[in-house]
Symmetry: C2
Subunit: 388 residues, 2 copies
């Protein structure tokens, strides 16, 4: 909403970025195509294009197909992925997951190490090592451009406000990595990154408003409205796990999270089975072996999730819902259950889909976010391809 004034230089800058956006989102486009798309004069585009080319943002692919009535063939161009690269870490409860990507989001390398029970310092040491490794290996024009951390907690103003699963010991991740590597460092909530992934990769492209439910240890949601991530006043938007399951006089209602997060479910099964070694895999196995009690607990949870979903959809009327959950990925039956429950309540069609490749989604979301940032294109819609 707050429009900024535009002088001559900002005009040029903006148009430069619009051209770059075209090149990123339509790999194998040409100058004329861009000119047509942006309603700017051919010569203007040529000028802008050449500026970008000088800065090594462009990779030319030779000639494309000419039209069927003759005429010169266009020179196809796409983003020069080797302009530079970014690194994204997911600081999980059980492990650290790391990935390095070229500017077009192509994965250069990824690693995962188990850090369960380890303090944050050890996790960050691993991250630091990974960055150094990449700096030694990856060849690119500008080198490392930026780093993103996926945090399972609440982020505000690029600071961790709340980290329920990992004790942070007042560690200032941003300061530390910015200092060491001299690149921008961004922290973002894991559910938000999942949402960004859905927006910028594959499916979500055509949806303006989507909500990504992230159901792991806790329950959160990433909210995309008007193609923009909505973070709320203090970055707490989407903390739907705290929603009440019961509105009414006895306001001491249970929160959704305390009832059907993975954590809660595992605990309930633990109690039920008097077995403290139960973990997610055990729950999955029990469900698959059609254990009656476990099935009941999970189906109950699905019903609650469906209700929560209905309430959120009712307030936001989004185009689609995504769910990012390892548990559901392993037990797709439950997705059907949720969908059916939702249908019963809503009587309305709404695309509900599982996020494919649960863990990578977050990382790629982070890759997209930091890429947007380093290009100075936070408010530009960028699409990326996910390799298969």
């Amino acid at each position: 909403m707050e429009k900024e004034s535009i002088g001559r230089t900002q005009l040029r800058n903006r148009n430069l970025k619009l051209v770059l956006q075209q090149i990123i989102n339509n790999p194998g486009t040409s100058r004329v195509a861009i000119s047509h798309e942006l309603n700017l004069n051919k010569s203007t585009i040529s000028s802008l294009y050449n500026s970008l080319a000088e800065d090594h943002f462009i990779e030319e692919l030779g000639e494309g197909a000419s039209s069927n009535v003759g005429g010169r063939k266009p020179i196809m161009a796409r983003l020069n992925k080797k302009y530079g690269y970014t690194i994204t870490f997911d600081l999980g409860y059980r492990q650290v997951h790391a990935v390095a990507n070229y500017l077009n989001s192509e994965v250069i390398d990824h690693q995962e190490i188990n850090t369960k029970g380890q303090p944050i310092e050890v996790m960050l040491q691993y991250c630091s090592d990974f960055v150094k490794e990449m700096q030694g290996e990856v060849v690119s024009n500008q080198g490392l451009l930026g780093i993103c951390f996926s945090i399972h907690g609440i982020i505000n103003q690029n600071k961790i406000v709340n980290s329920p699963w990992i004790e942070m010991n007042d560690t200032d991740i941003v300061e530390q990595f910015k200092e060491t590597f001299d690149v921008p460092v961004i922290l973002e909530n894991e559910a938000n990154l999942s949402a960004i992934y859905e927006r910028d990769f594959n499916a979500g492209r055509y949806y303006h408003n989507s909500i990504t439910f992230s159901i792991h240890r806790g329950i959160g949601a990433g909210i995309i409205l008007g193609k923009r991530l909505f973070r709320g006043k203090q970055g707490e938007a989407g903390e739907i796990g705290r929603s009440l399951t019961l509105l009414g006089p006895n306001t001491a209602g249970q929160s959704v999270e305390s009832f059907c997060s993975e954590e809660a479910i595992i605990n309930r099964v633990k109690q039920l089975k008097h077995d403290d070694t139960i973990d997610r895999q055990a729950v999955v196995d029990l469900y698959r072996s059609k254990d009656h009690e476990v099935m009941r607990i999970l189906l109950q949870s699905c019903s609650v999730i469906a209700g929560l979903m209905y309430n959120v959809v009712t307030t936001l009327n989004p185009d689609a819902i995504f769910i990012n959950s390892e548990l559901l990925a392993e037990l797709p039956d439950l997705l059907t259950e949720i969908k059916d429950n939702y249908q019963d309540i809503a009587q309305e069609e709404l695309p509900i889909a599982l996020t494919k490749n649960t863990k990578f989604a977050t990382l790629l979301g982070g890759c997209s976010l930091i890429t947007h940032y380093v290009l100075g294109m936070m408010d530009y819609e960028l699409h990326f391809e996910e390799a298969n």
Copy 2:
């Protein structure tokens, strides 16, 4: 998000609007002040300013106060309110409310007539008459600029999708009035207009994200995110009345609306008292006379509303909440009740305020909306003053 390309003309146009925005939002500003605010050169501003002046958008107020160290006095300017005027109607269940406003939102005239039980055609005939009356009376530069209708129902693409209280008989309001008066005609949901009112007048100015609960016959919410009205995929965002009060296995949970809308409350009191003549005023009187059962019902409703509020706040993390309700306006005790309940659940501070002047809020919201529209400034933040 979708950025449009900017050529020379659009640049000029945009800067023109930015200058106009400054003049609207800071009545009694000067060229230098604008130049400073927009970071554009003095001479550039002068040029833009003069263009606007030629188009009669500007009213000069003579000289302002000079600074205490000497120097020429600035020439103060504000929006020429008599550039033109807009008209807004509220098509209520019981009455039609009409208002005409100058471009600065100043009320020229307003009327209200009782139309309870009358068909839509009669209501619109009255509206039509009002417009003609204004066209005869109001003197302004450009005359009537646009018309806005506040609809107690769902609007999508400027069409009525759902009108629970008034039978529309397939009447195409937009077509009809656009045809007759040859100006833009906009329909918008009443709760959304309330939200716009809170955003553009008085209080809400400083909030980026706010939610306005409109509790009348039904329950709806207007959602302002990033200073922008959020309408959802099909304009159904904010239909929170449909939220479930209970998430869980028996998904046939009650909707909030069926439980504590004004309609529902009155019906419950009717049943309880075996008196079919009960209306809002009767409920108010009964509460004031401390009728036990009525108090119970209302307090119960407050508790549900507070829970609903908590859930919505949990998903959106807004800066503030507004409530627009005639019932609450008459019984401010209930607001306290809601606030207390909310506090109990949330344990967090959040500004919760009643909309003053319940009925006018919607109309002024409509005025703001249509004014934005006719100025071609839908995406510009405009502030208006409400006369006292």
